[in-house]
Symmetry: C2
Subunit: 203 residues, 2 copies
């Protein structure tokens, strides 16, 4: 395959115009559209308007693109676990902070988190990502257990189940949230927190 001009944006001839970040953004979009397994390097090269060798200038192959994309989502989520709001104060407040910031990250990194949440463990890279997701889930679960210890969590509810339901709610955003349509990210974060921490029923 030879270098073909991109059809969607003007570009100087012969200048690919991609750095690693913008190449990754396109690759992630293709992975989300066609599935990672269904995306060949030929398809990627075609969509990027690049030769395969131009892609290999940036990365060793599609597996490296996948790993970079998954790590971008995971690193953003893990960064939150070390922020002050997640490490100081009462545990229920740390848990709430973590949920709110996770909504922020889902919205800011939507394609990357979408890719992460669809990973099924078909390769070493995917299994490593799943292991890090489990580590994150355990962090959430531990916060919920500690909040229960402090007497701030609804009683008689399994902390691991709390973690799953909270992130079930948060992660559902990838199914329906679309930028520039409807509620703002802050409105959504407020609504998630209000529903899950205060409850929908006005008593």
């Amino acid at each position: 395959m030879t270098t073909t001009p991109a059809t969607r944006r003007p570009r100087r001839p012969g200048r690919p115009g991609y750095d690693l970040d913008s190449l990754l953004a396109v690759a992630v979009k293709v992975f989300n559209d066609k599935g990672y397994d269904g995306t060949s390097m030929d398809v990627l090269a075609d969509r990027l308007g690049l030769s395969k060798s131009s892609i290999y200038h940036h990365v060793s192959g599609k597996q490296e693109l996948l790993e970079l994309a998954l790590n971008r989502a995971l690193n953003a989520l893990f960064a939150v676990t070390t922020e002050t709001g997640a490490t100081q104060g009462r545990y229920i407040d740390r848990l709430e902070y973590l949920v709110r910031r996770s909504v922020d990250i889902l919205v800011a990194e939507l394609p990357y988190v979408t890719l992460l949440l669809r990973v099924r463990g078909n390769s070493t890279v995917e299994r490593r990502a799943l292991a890090r997701r489990r580590e994150f889930d355990a962090f959430v679960s531990d916060l919920a257990a500690a909040a229960a210890e402090e007497g701030d969590l609804l009683p008689d509810i399994d902390p691991a189940l709390v973690a799953r339901l909270l992130f079930g709610t948060v992660n559902s955003l990838i199914e329906w949230y679309r930028p520039r349509a409807g509620a703002s990210p802050d409105d959504i974060a407020d609504a998630v927190i209000a529903m899950t921490f205060d409850g929908l029923r006005r008593t």
Copy 2:
């Protein structure tokens, strides 16, 4: 392709041993594993240990199998909307009832609902299913709006967003719920209701 004996269960030779329900159950499992678009009639016949003509004895093709499967999930969910619990009493209680029963149905019809929730609208059958899903969402949204009218819903929250978040939580079960592992369906329904209607924070 000729009729090949099934490897997983004993069966009298030459007797397929499937009625429409059991054939559908296998087809749905294959659709969920390989994706509907990635499943050919040959693959289905192979997995069923049937000839394609034996399948055509039951249905006109894989599209009919898809439609039957999606309707099974949708009909179960819509049946709830006409039950007394969803049609009488205060709206906040109707909403709670609908959520609880939807958890029941997700658990009882897990493979069918999983298939439904992955539909992307690639065919007329899929678009019809999506239209019915939107109709169901509108029913939930209307209950939330009416509950707000009655003053029973957390104020300042968009009823359509409430519907999305509630069913985001419920639908997340397809990602992690596995029969015979961990919490019982009733425990899960209790936890979903407790978190979303009463809130996790003990005040």
